[in-house]
């Protein structure tokens, strides 16, 4: 079996494992199936990525050649994202087993089936080379995510899920309308084919409207700043395992979809002719500052980190609004680094929720002495989020600042620094409560979490520092990806 034939299995393995999972009884077997599917999918992607860097891998389903059939097409960009998603699923699942046992004691088969569907949907968005197929995978992952969010323990979880459903479906339908307009103008849905035929009709109102519909539609999915309203509630109310998984993958994959459509399908020339860069630049700046401010005001730590996620999306959007190789590199690197860092932070907070049952900051008082390892991990990952040197967060902010300086955008540099300072405040707020304030009076001492929860957390913390020191994997693939997107030869 060649690498090209193996590539679709990155999506197919979790997709096939999902219905099997739904039928399995008990707790251990469904988890084991999900775990195996995630590991196999990650192994496939680890094989695919090195092979796809030089020449894109193309697999035509049912042997129908691409303009007629649907193809999967993997190059440096989506190979990189696909590996990230499958690796995150692999790291999170061992942690999830313990947390899910507490939060969803019954019918875990269905839970893991939905998890696998969401996972395979995200992988599908990443690997597909067909604009309509992307819509289908988008809805597979979204629908399973709505159901997963509604499984959260808070009474308001279904309400958050409903609001997410309304926003998400509007976004997906916007995308569908945009794709429809492109199809009407070009007669094709294959992305590579669209890229060839669009320049001839680029000056028409229909294609420009299609561009706007697609950008707004995917903007909802990636929680672009003014369209982010669904995110904090969903992250705060979803089961812990799902919060960790979504925070590190769902918005990242949507960012990838945006990059693929704007740069590969429409092309950088078209994007530069539309007021795309200006709008994204302003939304990026506002998206860094306002959500950071809201994060500082939050009492519920899951909600605090959710707002922080919206702010981090702001950095990525700022990077890709610069329309330069350095800017796109910073966007891709931050996408990878933020996925790791935010998953580590959410794991720490959710581990505390597991031990104490509360996400409020008051519950964190004095935890530094009672759960030293968990809170140490929180501080270490928090330093990564702030962007302290030697952490992965520093690398992405460094590249982003370089990209801004290249174009003399000093306003952006100032905003990035202010954003980092605000991160110091909201991470510091938690660290201060945990390490300096005395423990809550009248509460039985909280025990340190068990090893099964701590090990995945420290794997991610280690990755935060590893990718801050050895940037070969992240920076090289991100640069290769940025070159592919811009259309320059690497």
């Amino acid at each position: 079996m060649t690498v090209t034939e193996m590539m679709p299995f990155g999506v197919l393995i979790p997709l096939i494992a999902a219905p099997i999972c739904a039928l399995l009884p008990g707790r251990f077997l469904p988890w084991l199936t999900a775990m195996l599917a995630a590991v196999l999918s990650a192994l496939v992607m680890a094989q695919v990525l090195p092979a796809a860097v030089d020449e894109p891998l193309r697999y035509a389903f049912g042997n129908w050649p691409p303009p007629i059939g649907i193809e999967f097409r993997v190059d440096a960009v989506n190979g990189f994202i696909g590996l990230l998603v499958s690796l995150m699923a692999t790291v999170i699942l061992p942690w999830a087993r313990i947390s899910v046992n507490q939060e969803i004691p019954e019918r875990q088969g269905l839970f893991y089936a939905l998890f696998l569907l969401a996972f395979s949907g995200l992988m599908g968005i990443t690997l597909t080379g067909d604009a309509f197929n992307l819509f289908v995978f988008l809805e597979i992952s979204s629908l399973s995510t709505y159901a997963l969010v509604a499984m959260g323990r808070p009474k308001t979880a279904p309400l958050s899920a409903f609001r997410y459903l309304i926003m998400g479906t509007l976004g997906a339908t916007f995308y569908l309308i945009g794709v429809g307009m492109l199809y009407i103008m070009t007669g094709t849905l294959n992305m590579a084919d669209l890229a060839e035929r669009l320049p001839a009709v680029a000056d028409t109102r229909a294609v420009q409207a299609g561009f706007a519909f697609i950008v707004v539609g995917i903007g909802v999915k990636l929680a672009l700043f003014p369209l982010h309203r669904w995110l904090p509630g969903s992250y705060a109310n979803a089961p812990s395992a799902i919060t960790v998984f979504l925070s590190s993958t769902a918005t990242k994959v949507a960012v990838y979809a945006l990059l693929r459509l704007v740069f590969t399908v429409f092309g950088i020339g078209f994007a530069a002719a539309m007021p795309y860069a200006e709008i994204f630049f302003i939304l990026g700046l506002a998206g860094i500052l306002l959500p950071s401010l809201w994060a500082i005001q939050q009492d519920n730590l899951k909600r605090l980190l959710a707002y922080s996620s919206v702010a981090q999306i702001g950095y990525i959007i700022l990077g890709i609004s610069l329309l330069s190789v350095t800017g796109l590199t910073s966007g891709l690197v931050h996408l990878f680094n933020h996925a790791i860092i935010k998953a580590a932070l959410f794991m720490c907070v959710c581990t505390v929720i597991y031990q104490t049952g509360s996400a409020r900051i008051s519950a964190f008082q004095g935890l530094g002495r009672q759960m030293p390892l968990t809170m140490l991990a929180f501080v270490l990952a928090g330093l990564g989020l702030i962007g302290v040197p030697l952490t992965a967060g520093f690398i992405s902010k460094w590249v982003l600042i370089q990209a801004a300086i290249e174009q003399d955008l000093w306003l952006a540099v100032v905003v990035i620094l202010i954003g980092s300072l605000m991160a110091v405040i909201y991470i510091g707020k938690v660290a201060e409560a945990a390490w300096i304030q005395p423990p809550v009076e009248g509460r039985a001492p909280v025990k340190e979490a068990r090893a099964g929860l701590l090990i995945p957390m420290y794997v991610l913390v280690f990755a935060t520092y590893y990718f801050g020191i050895d940037t070969r994997l992240t920076l090289d693939f991100a640069t290769a990806g940025a070159n592919v997107l811009i259309g320059a030869t690497p």
């Binding site: 819509f135 409903f162 339908t173 569908l176 429809g180």
Partner: protein
């Protein structure tokens, strides 16, 4: 083509705006889902209208026919309709759960924020 020739597209625009306005302006979850359905349906009609080719025959291969209508949009929209039904079903199921929890499906009256202490129960 006069405006009558673009009749389908006028319907698309009108339906799209009615649906979108309903989703945004109504608090009642059942009405929101109805609006969402209208909005999706308008996108479906747009695709299907685009499949019609003037003077084209039904897309079944026959002797003596040169021009066929495009069948692909119909196939795409079949998929999209299935997705729409699934979304409606999940949305209504969530509305039922919300009604069980709060005794109301008025979105404006409910707040996500008061849930923060519920994690401890």
């Amino acid at each position: 083509m006069g405006w009558l020739g673009l009749f389908n597209y006028w319907i698309v625009v009108v339906l799209m705006m009615i649906g979108f306005y309903t989703v945004v302006s109504r608090g009642n979850m059942a009405k929101k889902i109805i609006g969402l359905n209208l909005f999706q349906t308008s996108a479906f009609i747009m695709f299907i209208s685009a499949g019609k080719i003037l003077g084209g025959s039904t897309p079944i291969y026959r002797e003596g026919i040169e021009v066929y209508s495009n069948p692909l949009p119909h196939v795409l929209i079949l998929t999209a309709i299935v997705v729409g039904i699934a979304t409606t079903a999940v949305g209504l199921a969530l509305a039922v759960r919300i009604h069980e929890n709060f005794g109301s499906i008025e979105d404006d009256l409910l707040s996500e924020d008061d849930s923060d202490d519920e994690t401890s129960t």
